[in-house]
Symmetry: C2
């Protein structure tokens, strides 16, 4: 685990650029998009390709790694980075969200989350201490504590419970972290809950702020609420978060949502959309989204995006990639995923430049016009 410091380098209105400087020498410029490597692999994309695109920080899921390959294997290999041969940086979530969303028979208690594996039905129990032990074995560079993510919709009582548990659990997490020999806040982010209740969100931010953690995440959004609600809560919450700490919006998202969040000062994003959409034949281009399987691509001897410099666009035609999707050739998933991740990486660079050049509003307007149209398809 590399320690990091975070510096804000430029600001424009509420948005900012920054850099996460890890003491292993790797720097992550923010706003940053992190590809999701659920089980230690970003689906259909090799580690060589992630390096080629230029990603320094990727996400893996504690819940999935805990079930497979399991902590015994990960301990033997000295962590996920050695296991998957990824010499850069890894952030892991706490596993709480997956235990809640993927498992059958999940039961929350004040002590933690009881769940049954989605693979074999075996029973497991995540406590704040246990998910830190697991992430310690994973050797994540950024660690998330267990939180209680209330479903949507949730009544006030359930939201209050979610808040109290999340706050109780971060306290236990810090205590355990110290017992494990780590500086109490080392690389451990706080997660802000509160659903769509602005007062609860505000309370959660205040609570977390006092702990002086190295970074803060917004959890419990994009769980089914309307886009208006999402944006309201996000804007209000982000506005209250500490200025000099990285702000991470978990599990989001689409390009318009990332832009909205950046405009409100969010620094970090992760989402499966670019790779999942790619596997379903949806790719991003400088003109907007494109359905690769569509009939009109059949004869097109031009790249996915004529303005894209990725190796897929340099070499392969739309007609060919459509054919690969129609025939379910495995190469379809590799090429489309590579392109979408390259696109996201370039997009974040564009966003950072626009913040530096004070023209984020025009970039936002421009990209919203291109990427909002089909959002419902995702």
């Amino acid at each position: 685990m590399s320690l990091f410091r975070f510096d804000v380098t430029n600001t424009f209105e509420k948005s900012r650029t920054g850099v996460l400087k890890f003491d292993n020498g790797i720097h992550v410029e923010t706003p940053v998009f992190m590809p999701v490597g659920t089980r230690g692999s970003v689906k259909a994309v090799s580690q060589e390709s992630l390096e080629e695109i230029g990603f320094n920080l990727i996400l893996a899921n504690t819940y999935h790694l805990y079930l497979r390959p399991g902590t015994v294997v990960l301990k033997e290999f000295g962590g996920i980075k050695k296991f998957m041969s990824w010499p850069r940086l890894i952030l892991t979530d706490s596993g709480g969200y997956q235990a809640f969303s993927l498992s059958k028979l999940t039961r929350y208690s004040a002590e933690g989350i009881h769940f049954k594996s989605h693979i074999d039905g075996s029973p497991h129990f995540f406590t704040p201490e246990k998910v830190l032990d697991i992430q310690d074995i994973i050797r994540s560079d950024i660690v998330m504590p267990l939180d209680d993510c209330a479903p949507y919709p949730a009544d006030e009582k359930r939201l209050r419970q979610s808040l109290e548990r999340t706050h109780q659990w971060i306290g236990q997490s810090l205590h355990h972290w110290k017992r494990m020999g780590y500086d109490k806040t080392r690389n451990l982010f706080g997660i802000i809950q509160g659903g769509t209740n602005l007062a609860f969100r505000s309370e959660s931010v205040d609570f977390m702020k006092d702990l002086d953690l190295p970074g803060y995440a917004i959890g419990g959004l994009s769980v089914g609420e309307k886009n208006d609600e999402f944006r309201n809560v996000l804007a209000a919450t982000a506005a209250q978060m500490p200025e000099h700490k990285p702000r991470y919006l978990m599990g989001v998202g689409s390009i318009p949502e990332i832009l909205f969040a950046v405009n409100h000062g969010i620094d970090m994003f992760d989402c499966v959309l670019p790779t999942r959409n790619a596997r379903n034949g949806q790719v991003f281009t400088s003109l907007g989204k494109l359905n690769l399987r569509a009939e009109y691509n059949k004869f097109l001897d031009k790249p996915i995006d004529e303005n894209c410099g990725c190796r897929v666009c340099k070499r392969y035609s739309l007609g060919y990639i459509r054919h690969l999707h129609k025939t379910q050739e495995l190469l379809a998933y590799e090429l489309s995923s590579f392109h979408n991740l390259f696109f996201m990486h370039q997009l974040m660079g564009q966003i950072r430049n626009s913040i530096r050049n004070n023209d984020l509003p025009s970039l936002t307007q421009d990209l919203n016009a291109r990427f909002t149209a089909q959002v419902s398809e995702f």
Copy 2:
């Protein structure tokens, strides 16, 4: 379509090295293994990777390309090589074997093969002329004529019919080729049939020899006959084939069978085994075959093959690749297929060197010992 000439460069007993020199400047050293890119993609392996490994000549299937993307698309793109962005060389089979093995309700007649698409059941009819027209649109560098491959077992009557049709059809093929404006034998191989009947095989070789074609293939082997029969027929047939023309054993195969065939003077091979096995978690190593999914790989922090210089072996551990297979991550198929193709490419280089150095027998003995044990698993 590039014209080629074939030179035998070294001989050792019945085996030989040679080179297919295409007039686009690409040379293919023989004995050569051709990866199979059925529908214009070698499964799970990008064209970049094929180039990186060093393949110059790959195979695609006329039957599959005819059904998808279809000749209209291929014509628009100017052939399969432009369509798939593969600047090197392509050999296509005639489609006859797939029409016979994949389709329902195949009916042979003296005029050709009636079949229904395995995709949508639509009826189609392959004639000797039609499969050349298709391959002309595909712009294959090496073209196969329609043949009648008898099933195994087949009685003498059926074998006789297969021989007569195959011989009749090559005549029609040459006639049609000429009508299309090509030098009568340009890049068109003859296919030798005759099943397991040595007299028929001999008759077929004699017939084909007289046509003075630029290369000859042995068809109708590895269709269910016993290994002893396979080897008998192969040895007898190869011994009679013209010395100064490339000899291609279609659809074979396993490493012991390739070695046996090389020892009897075969120059060209294609087979789906390296990529299909890879997807099933079977890889080749310098010590023999390895089942990636096996429990004993779980903790192994060493490459698939410590003697392999491929980028997969340089970077990834057995423990990790096992995990990818167990969790059905798409990266599993990419990494394992790359390794197996790299292995086959290196193996053919070793075989060519051993012919040049007069030590093919010891290499054969050595490799047979390592690769025969589990042949039945394939």
